[in-house]
Symmetry: C2
Subunit: 495 residues, 2 copies
């Protein structure tokens, strides 16, 4: 039997995951409002089938048989990853999986209404139920893998990531970022925003033009509109979305470039391992590193903006312009605007980590039992006051109810955002060290220089290494904050 | 155990079918050109899963157990239909299913290129292989159900339909239609087509406006663009498509109304039986009857055109007009234009049945062995010459290579188109007899009068009765040609 039967089984699972990815994209982008019921049922059934096929005894037998065979390195990692998925799928009782799924679905639906009404009271009991069940699930995984319960949750978003990896990084950022935000705000140069409105079809044309320049393969992907920008689909059919603000074209432009970073990663995954765990992208942190490398390291920097400015002018205005607000020196200031705000998803790269660290502190305490659900609003207010000098007293909508994650049962996800930013800086620093004239190549629009390098060192390696090992391998050192902090000091003139 | 376990099993199968319907819609409407490979794999895997779940021994055991329970009429028919599906799924060896699927896929791909190049030689061997395997499949089903092999194929598109039902209908049509076409062409009144171009967004607005007037539920459905118009999705998410001709808005308008007829059927299926065989639409013939009832019986008639003309003028021109070519008396002539042509999908309702009957004669002979694959082009040419006075000698593109059906292994499908037209006329005659003032209601845009009746008598009954029994039940007589021929004589002034 050897390895092939296991591979074939995961090809089938991969096809189910393709269907799930496409149905989820459709739900966010195309589906009419009244069709949520049938879609929800179908997604639950297909998700259940993936779980059944993964957790089946037969999978364990196939894994054992495959492990006996002579395996190349990719096969060996694939078998090891499948074994881990199999063990994880069996560690959590089916009853608990169903109960958590139901509780999270109820809680999320309540949250969707209650958030707009600033009604914390409406969700608190439902959130408590979600957290209780999540704690149970984390404990079941922790028992199976003999690890910390929060680490067990982290593992499902970024394999092998632990609190021990996160803590030093977040502690360093927490210590220096508030001061850096103060400094950046004090030194922030004046900039003038080009005046809209900018018709949506021109903004879309701009997004498409830049995607094409960067190297997005439109033969295997699309750009559409959704409520929140995301990258969905799969490596052979990568679908990104954006939303348009008629008065600020930069919002959508950077959202498109961010999602294009995700998409380039997907499109660069190894062709021979489609649908197999080893051929999939690394975890959420590494994925986010690729979108932030694109958006923050490349596209908000001067070389890219010098490249893009003529395209922006032509596409939005129909012709080049000498008007000062449309020139690179002004646009680059707009691209690096810092502002203290309540909302994580609207935050700039300097304040963003503070939003994430707040959530990390709270969710680890929630899981450990050191923080009660009732205490979330006060803890949020205190933390926001301390790190960003903003009060959220009585403001749940823009405070502890702003993100869907906890209400949907997603604990352990938040650290990915900031680890991704830190990884992005470290990987991009290596790219600049290793690729002679990278800034010039970007200024000239020769993005293949960067993406050839990324395909070789990151994208094309799939999940062959755990993400932190991959970062260490590519950059020559363990993940640390120095590249990220250097990048911030340079961009925000904090040296 | 009783009935519920079987129901639950088909709920899961229904969810897989939902995924298949959406992935197929996406493939035709949204998918980028380079993503066909992964999509084809995923569709094959999900189709295989539906087949496995249907054909499994467990299904047979659940059917036997359910049949012992006390069942209401819907449950009883559901169990009977599932038993039939189960038997059909087991009758054809899995090897043969795979071989036919592969042969048809190869043949269809070759046909896609060869049709444009008028290259019959490129497909003839591949078509022979498809037909040989189809004959094998038909024989396997015929053995299992003790029936005629062609009837076994018919059954898969329109359950319980047989050649004995088709032959008298087609013989009558074949005898009278060529003469009626002559007469209609001789008497055809002059009409002036409104001059385009008509911008696509206005045509789309027109289609949407008419769909909404008719009663299409946009909360549970969409209108999009594809190469060929179709109705896809499912009852809770019904997705129709059209294509636009800039110079002829009537083409797209009637295509949208035709697909809306399909969609109204889907949206009117019984809510309590979603995903179950008994709750699905009747076969292809009954489905086509609902699109043709809409397009041919209702929308190409004067009452509808009197209703629609002001909407057409406002939407396409921005304001009402007195120009004669935009008035109902002229538009209704354009809607009833007769023309002898090579292409079935472009045919009017008077010549269309002759195209279908040609294919029926040929495909039954192909299956019986009375006609060889080599002889198709000559037989096609002779039949077209006899029925429509058109030569297809040497013209494969517009002759025997124009339709995908045979090349894709779809034998037994063609009769549905014309049986649907005949059913539509007979059902609509009953509707007019039973609904006082139906023409006036249509002229006033009160379509709910018609659709309330159709929901009660047709749509809401799902597959509770075989389609021919349903038609007989609704209209009080077995399917015959009189209503259809009366309709043609009236519309084309042939009395």
């Amino acid at each position: 039997m050897g390895y092939d039967a296991l591979h074939e089984r995961f090809r089938r699972i991969g096809d189910l995951n393709h269907a799930l990815a496409m149905l989820s994209w459709d739900e966010a982008v195309m589906m009419p409002t009244g069709s949520g019921g049938v879609r929800g049922e179908a997604l639950a059934t297909l998700t259940g089938m993936v779980h059944e096929l993964t957790a089946a005894s037969e999978t364990g037998e196939l894994v054992d048989a495959a492990a006996q065979a002579e395996l190349n390195p990719w096969q060996a990692v694939n078998v090891a990853k499948i074994r881990r998925d199999w063990e994880a799928a069996r560690a959590v009782p089916a009853d608990l999986v169903r109960a958590l799924s139901r509780a999270a679905s109820t809680c999320e639906q309540t949250w969707r209404v209650a958030r707009g009404e600033n009604d914390w009271g409406a969700v608190v009991d439902k959130l408590r139920r979600v957290l209780d069940l999540t704690r149970e699930k984390a404990q079941a995984l922790a028992d199976a893998f003999d690890c910390d319960p929060y680490d067990a949750l982290l593992d499902s978003y970024e394999p092998r990531l632990t609190r021990r990896d996160i803590d030093p990084v977040f502690s360093e950022l927490e210590a220096v970022l508030p001061g850096m935000v103060d400094d950046a705000l004090a030194r922030q140069p004046a900039a003038r925003a080009p005046l809209g409105p900018f018709p949506l079809d021109r903004q879309e044309a701009l997004g498409r033009a830049l995607m094409a320049e960067v190297g997005f393969d439109f033969e295997r992907g699309r750009l559409d509109v959704s409520h929140h920008p995301f990258c969905g689909g799969d490596p052979d059919d990568t679908r990104i979305t954006t939303r348009y603000n008629e008065n600020d074209f930069l919002e959508s432009m950077f959202a498109v470039l961010h999602e294009t970073g995700h998409a380039m990663y997907e499109q660069g995954l190894p062709k021979d391992w489609r649908g197999q765990p080893v051929g999939s992208a690394g975890g959420m942190a590494l994925h986010e590193s690729q979108s932030l490398l694109m958006e923050m390291q490349v596209c908000r920097g001067l070389p890219f903006i010098e490249f893009a400015a003529p395209i922006v002018q032509r596409t939005l205005l129909g012709a080049p312009t000498d008007a000062p607000e449309w020139q690179p020196d002004n646009l680059v200031k707009l691209a690096a605007k810092v502002e203290r705000g309540y909302i994580r998803v609207d935050a700039d790269e300097l304040t963003y980590p503070l939003h994430v660290i707040l959530r990390y502190r709270l969710e680890t305490a929630l899981l450990d039992g050191g923080l009660g659900v009732d205490e979330i609003p006060d803890a949020w207010h205190e933390s926001m006051s301390a790190s960003l000098s903003l009060s959220t007293a009585g403001n749940f909508t823009d405070g502890c109810m702003q993100d869907v994650h906890w209400f949907a049962g997603l604990l352990g996800y938040f650290p990915s955002y900031t680890l991704g930013a830190v990884m992005a800086a470290q990987i991009f620093r290596s790219a600049r060290n290793q690729i002679r004239g990278l800034d010039d190549a970007i200024r000239e629009g020769s993005f293949h220089v960067l993406f050839d390098w990324l395909r070789q060192h990151v994208h094309g390696r799939g999940s062959l290494l755990p993400s932190l090992d991959l970062v260490a391998d590519v950059t020559g050192s363990r993940l640390g904050t120095d590249a990220f902090l250097d990048h911030l000091r340079t961009r925000y003139a904090l040296v």
